[in-house]
């Protein structure tokens, strides 16, 4: 598949953004009336300024109103202006594959150990993003060694023993 066809078009990006912001508005609107029930031990009768629900309710109301307003504006065609200088929508398939690879990486650490999982993850992400396998393999080995030395041996970060590979 060509690189150009993997890019998210502006229209699709706008729809995705409007859907995401709409979800935030909906989530906040649903949580708002439920707030007192989501507080364990919420007192029955309490002055508004002593209520633990006051501040979260204000925050949720702000989210719901601002998100709904922005969602409507986007659906009406307002630009997705960002102050960032990069393109988050380019090659979105690679990004989605990187999400999956990361989930597998986190799940693999208790099974095969930190070092093996990290080296394989770096190799896999590099290959998925189109870097081939030689450079990612080299970086995978060097980076894993450096991180192991700094964090595991230097800062004494503890990892559970690998359940599938004893001693890893």
């Amino acid at each position: 598949m060509s690189i150009a066809s993997q890019e998210l078009g502006e229209r699709a990006q706008r729809r995705l953004a409007a859907g995401f912001v709409g979800l935030l508005a909906l989530g906040a609107a649903i949580l708002l009336p439920l707030t007192p029930r989501l507080i364990v031990g919420m007192p029955e009768e309490v002055a508004y300024y002593r209520s633990p629900a006051l501040f979260p309710s204000i925050a949720l109301a702000l989210v719901a109103i601002a998100a709904a307003f922005h969602c409507v504006r986007m659906l009406r065609g307002a630009s997705l202006s960002t102050d960032d200088i990069d393109e988050p929508a380019a090659h979105w398939r690679v990004v989605v594959l990187a999400f999956v690879a990361y989930v597998l990486y986190v799940l693999a650490v208790p099974l095969v150990g930190y070092a093996i999982a990290t080296a394989v993850f770096v190799l896999a992400v590099g290959a998925l993003s189109g870097l081939g396998w030689r450079v990612p393999a080299l970086i995978g080995v060097c980076l894993t060694t450096a991180l192991y030395l700094i964090f595991v041996l230097g800062f004494k970060v503890w990892f559970p023993a690998a359940s599938l590979i004893p001693g890893a």
């Binding site: 300024y49 002593r50 601002a66 307003f69 090659h91 990361y102 990290t118 770096v122 993003s129 800062f155």
Partner: protein, 515 residues
């Protein structure tokens, strides 16, 4: 003077000095690499600081923060691609100057004006922070509430044209900050029965997610940069002969450093605004010359850009209110180390405050020296494939978030916020207000509830003391400003006289002047 000596004493340890050098070098590199900002680098380096002393950890992060301001100019000038959003203005005059064969002059102007801006703002920090902290020492709950509210309004107002997006993210940050045990009533809020949520969502993991991981995903999806014909990478260098040129434009230099420092003091109003304000202020006097390689354009942008760093630390140290996103993360590091910025910090840990001030002075000197000797090599890093960086950042984010508590729980939180941050980047939602909301929310909620308790629920308590009343009036004026401006414009618009109006309608009135 005694305080500076005390600061020097706390900086003169091999661990702190090593952090200073590493932080400065990393900062320059981060500034040069397009797509990675100081926020990303600090998020990724955050866990490393946990294994260090307070001073060494903070100096490492401050080095990254300051170095990135300097490094951003390199790519703006040489390849017309700003390393940071705040370096866009440097490009307008820096690149044309480089393109006519004066790349070294442009870089020298940029680095020396950034150096003067950085020193000026650090001097301001040294003289302004302590009196402000002494003044804030008399603050009660009402004053802190009003100051935090003003900071939140500034956060939203800083995003001109994106107010709704900033308000949405700020609200989300405030809400996320409420998850866990309520500090006032000790009730559990939004914990859904998960014991991990009792202490709230970990700020470190959220920061690693929205800044580090989200940016790594963005980088993985980017195309590698191709070399262009106009690139001036081989011309990179520093000219000692031209190091004094900035002093031929003293008013531009002084004005820009002043604008940058004052903008830095305002919460969340970052360097991008300070550079544009300063650039357009300088351009106002000679609009024809700017944009064609005028040295004043580079001086105005770079002096303002780097002077934000010292200004942003003033409210952080004196009030516990961060000046921008990066200082918000740095504040998180303070808290993890059990140090709480605010008026009491000056009396409780004077050596730390003085150490920060001295290290800011040293950092500016070290960064300039590094650039003098190494800019030629640093510039070559621009060609680095962004996908390689994304890959490395993701691996660092994993171990960084895991080491927050030796638990995979933190990596899952960071990953969740990583996806969230990528979606935000895709939707044009800024991540900075989210972090500022999380950091400021706690201070805001505690002080608002205390103040309302004192006033028995009456909001009049915020107007009963002079400082809080003044701050609240400023808040109200800032919120009402769009309406006031519209009303003022409507009043100033001349109403046409009835006779002239009638003749115009009949087509017999005087013709409008030719364009």
């Amino acid at each position: 003077m005694n305080e500076l000596l005390l600061g020097l004493q706390s900086v003169m340890h091999w661990g702190v000095l090593a952090s200073l050098l590493v932080g400065a070098a990393l900062g320059i590199l981060i500034g040069v690499l397009p797509g990675i900002g100081p926020g990303v680098a600090i998020a990724v380096m955050l866990p490393i600081t946990y294994g260090m002393s307070h001073m060494a950890g903070l100096v490492l992060l401050l080095g990254i923060y300051c170095g990135a301001f300097y490094g951003g100019a390199v790519t703006s000038i040489l390849i017309r691609t700003p390393g940071e959003a705040s370096s866009i203005m440097t490009m307008f005059d820096g690149y044309p100057m480089a393109a006519r064969g004066e790349a070294q002059r442009a870089l020298t102007l940029a680095f020396t004006s950034a150096f003067v801006g950085g020193l000026a703002s650090t001097v301001f920090l040294i003289f302004a922070a302590k009196p402000l902290a002494a003044f804030a020492g008399r603050f009660g709950a009402a004053e802190f509430s009003a100051a935090a509210l003003l900071a939140l309004v500034c956060v939203v107002k800083a995003y001109q044209g994106r107010t709704a997006q900033a308000a949405l993210m700020l609200g989300l940050g405030l809400f996320i900050g409420t998850v866990g045990i309520d500090p006032s009533s000790q009730e559990q809020r939004f914990t859904f029965g998960f014991p991990q949520l009792m202490t709230g969502l970990p700020l470190g993991a959220v920061v690693i997610g929205v800044f580090g991981m989200a940016q790594a995903f963005v980088l993985l999806g980017m195309k590698p940069r191709e070399r262009k014909r106009g690139d001036q990478l081989e011309q990179a260098g520093f000219s000692l002969k031209q190091a004094g040129e900035i002093f031929r434009y003293p008013s531009t230099l002084a004005k820009s450093a002043g604008i940058g420092t004052l903008i830095g003091v305002l919460p969340a109003v970052g360097a991008a605004l300070s550079t544009s304000l300063s650039y357009f202020e300088a351009k106002r006097h000679d609009p024809e010359a700017f944009g064609k390689g005028d040295p004043r354009g580079i001086i105005a942008a770079e002096a303002a850009n780097n002077s934000v760093s010292g200004g942003a630390l003033v409210p952080l140290l004196a009030l516990g209110i961060p000046g921008d996103a990066v200082t918000a993360i740095i504040m998180g590091v303070f808290m993890v180390h059990g140090v709480f910025p605010g008026p009491n910090l000056f009396s409780e840990q004077p050596e730390l405050v003085s150490g920060i001030m001295v290290s800011m002075l040293l950092l500016n000197v070290v960064i300039l020296l590094m650039l003098v000797f190494l800019v030629r090599y640093v510039a070559m890093c621009v060609q680095l494939d962004p996908r390689l960086l994304g890959m490395v950042i993701l691996a660092l984010c994993f171990i960084g978030s895991y080491s927050l508590g030796n638990s995979l729980y933190f990596t899952w939180v960071a990953f969740g916020f990583g996806i969230f941050g990528w979606l935000c980047a895709l939707s044009g939602l800024p991540a900075v207000p989210l972090v500022l909301g999380m950091v400021l929310g706690d201070l805001m909620e505690t002080s608002v509830r205390q103040a309302l308790n004192i006033g028995e629920g009456s909001p009049a308590v915020f107007f009963s003391r002079p400082v809080s009343a003044t701050l609240m009036v400023v808040v109200i004026l800032m919120l009402a400003w769009p309406l006031l401006r519209r009303g003022w414009r409507a009043l100033r618009r001349p109403t046409p006289a009835p006779a002239a109006d009638a003749s115009r309608r009949a087509g017999t009135g005087p013709l409008p002047p030719a364009a």
